[in-house]
Symmetry: C2
């Protein structure tokens, strides 16, 4: 059996997981890949750090460029994260005709178009299963398993940290700050958790899925990205009373030549598969014109699940290499220029609206009159009896309405004397009506 | 762009779905496959039958062998079902070096080893995504998406008819016979539904999944195959009271060099993903040593979902063809001879046991003494107060026990005077403890 040389850039949590498997499961991997995978070079930041994986003399280096340039390295696994150095190294590998496996969602979301073009020019594979939903082979499902379908909708719970926090709040009655601290202690959230909880990480992943489904790269600055900081314990409890869970979703929808891509928390009805995704799990729901609704669920992050995805890509790349079929899959070249982003004002969903209302006769009539004047009709109301400083909490569920009209109504409601300071609105995803 | 010739054997529900897509979505499919897919020949049983798809002059024939032999046909899609003729035609195609896409689970479960060997000898692809779980790309996930994993467990809801019947019984309080009739009217169940409801169809699919995960073909006659005929409405209702749903499962487990494969109804705890699979949907849960638990959910049968799977395979086969990489994936050659089937007596699960007990003092003590003498301890008891002819229904949930001991206890319990005629036992799958 022939041997293929592997180089790893970055030996943190995932890098050491991949290195360990390459060492300890070499016969399983050789059987799956049809070639012996030999780990030849590993680039680390700090050579003096102690590690739980040991390497032969000469494997470790603190010069990542030397790993890419090493003629004994045929395939480069990029796990250093970040964007600038990662981009430089991936481009260097691809230009040399070396295939690359990466878990780097920020890199792909920001520079995917350039990187895939360079991969195609140099007949190298650039695979990225680990960039979205960890162990769940959603990239492969979209590119290959559902290849006969026009993709109509993708909705994903793509950030395990946020889902963990929301689950703690909902099931344990934990306040946001406490749940966040807990997620950090569990190692789910980074030291700076803003990329997770403000939706940026979910946006990177959704943009990759959108690019795959529609062959078009959109900019993060052009889409709505709302995180979960504004979600109060009350909202989760009221939502539960109304038959919903709150999830941070990445939503991608096609409507003719328009693609909607948006990241925001949403109420999801109990009984829907996505509502039963708890803890740090991820799930992606994909609707195809033939497949109907499919759901893919599993561990979205962590050493072993990410290693699982990286190794699947490595096996795939090696199979291409050994059968002379590198570049076998079409690259995402982003040439679907006829598609444009759908403006957020045109979105049509139901809304959950929580306000404090003055506990006086006629107040509710004013509110519903205001909503009605913008064409928004009320589906149900949950009014609480607990009066604080003369105000009572009220939760209004609307029928489907255009985002633009709803925002205009909110602008009018907020300054009213009868409306308290806190006005919270969360979109509702029923997963039945198309937008 | 080059053109590849497609032949379809069988133009029933799925065959006409595939033909229609090849005609109506040719540009989408060409983009995905990198070649134009041209439908050149279609074999039907009855040329005079009217169809919802129209074909050009010369495409239709009632001689399937002529389709396989036609030099303009490069890829054969086998959708005639059944085993003998399908086997002959698939062998004929493979021997001619033509790749084959099939949805035929019975064929693969019974003759997989032979067919894959012939495919390998002739460097042809034999793809079968549509044979298990319809639109859900579970074959691709197991072969490729989870390729870095040692697969530890697969549990599937693989028969939509049974799941539809069980859901009707549970949610609608419908008796088995009525729900079955309903499934037949909905077109889910065949005119002879025994292959579905007695577990044979699930067995075929589980054997294919086991072959993929462990590279070993097992015989259906060597595994436990229990269907859902024995499940009463009472059982679903008692199970619900205890916090469970009843599902027909295909279970595949590795324990060292032993593989357990068994098909039977089981109590599944509420809150588990598999418990929330309702109606005619399918789902497959896969545990890998790296991936942890993943779940794949979607439509398991019907024209469009099966067409989705068939077309994904066709695109894959064409990609191999155009890049000269036919035979790129290792075939399931079944050479893992060191693996054997785990004897059913060694299975260790919890049991749900429903009996009618004589409403007299001391009876329950006798029952628990009998169970105890076989090493089976009781976890909980649900005793009903409704006395009929002196007997009351009692439901016993046991702790984990070996199947052999449990069956021996049942043998002893059945003839007791204090035990009524109907003794129903159903295995419980908690999905936490390994067997």
């Amino acid at each position: 059996m022939k041997t293929v040389g592997i180089g790893i850039l970055g030996c943190g949590t995932v890098g050491s997981g991949v290195a360990q498997e390459l060492q300890e499961r070499s016969s399983l991997l050789a059987e799956r890949a049809g070639m012996v995978l030999e780990l030849r070079r590993v680039a680390v930041r700090d050579l003096s750090r102690s590690r739980d994986v040991s390497f032969e003399e000469g494997v470790l280096t603190d010069d990542p460029r030397s790993v890419v340039a090493d003629p004994s390295v045929d395939i480069v696994i990029e796990l250093i994260g970040g964007v600038d150095l990662a981009r430089e190294l991936v481009l260097m590998a691809l230009t040399a005709g070396k295939s690359v496996v990466t878990a780097n969602k920020a890199l792909l979301a920001e520079h995917g178009k350039e990187l895939f073009a360079v991969a195609a020019e140099n007949n190298a594979d650039l695979f990225f299963e680990a960039s979205v939903a960890g162990a769940v082979p959603i990239i492969k499902a979209l590119r290959e398993g559902l290849a006969g379908n026009q993709i109509q909708r993708i909705v994903g719970i793509l950030n395990g940290t946020c889902n963990y926090i929301l689950t703690c709040m909902e099931d344990g009655g934990t306040e946001f700050d406490v749940a966040l601290k807990d997620a950090m202690e569990m190692g789910y959230a980074e030291a700076d958790p803003s990329l997770d909880i403000d939706g940026g990480d979910t946006a990177h992943k959704a943009l990759i899925l959108a690019a795959l489904a529609y062959n078009r790269f959109f900019d993060q600055s052009d889409i709505v990205v709302d995180g979960i900081r504004g979600i109060a314990l009350d909202d989760l409890q009221y939502a539960a009373e109304l038959g919903y869970r709150i999830k941070l979703l990445g939503v991608i929808l096609q409507d003719g030549d328009q693609i909607a891509v948006r990241i925001h928390p949403a109420l999801v009805p109990h009984g829907r598969m996505l509502a039963s995704v708890t803890g740090s799990y991820n799930a992606v729901m994909v609707d195809g014109h033939l497949s109907g609704t499919t759901v893919f669920h599993g561990r979205g992050a962590g050493r072993e699940p990410t290693t699982s995805a990286v190794l699947a890509d490595v096996v795939d790349v090696v199979r291409n290499l050994s059968s002379g079929a590198t570049g076998r899959l079409p690259v995402v070249d982003g040439t679907a220029d006829h598609l444009s982003l759908r403006p957020i004002e045109d979105m049509r969903v139901r809304y959950y609206l929580r306000m404090e209302l003055l506990d006086e006769p006629g107040v509710f009539a004013k509110i519903s009159e205001c909503l009605g004047s913008h064409g928004i009709s009320i589906s149900s109301v949950l009014q609480k009896s607990s009066v604080v400083d003369g105000f009572v909490p009220a939760i209004i569920m609307t029928h489907v309405a255009p985002e633009g009209a709803f925002c205009a109504a909110l602008e009018e409601l907020r300054p009213m004397d009868a409306v308290g300071d806190e006005v919270v609105s969360i979109r509702v995803e029923e997963f039945e009506e198309a937008e």
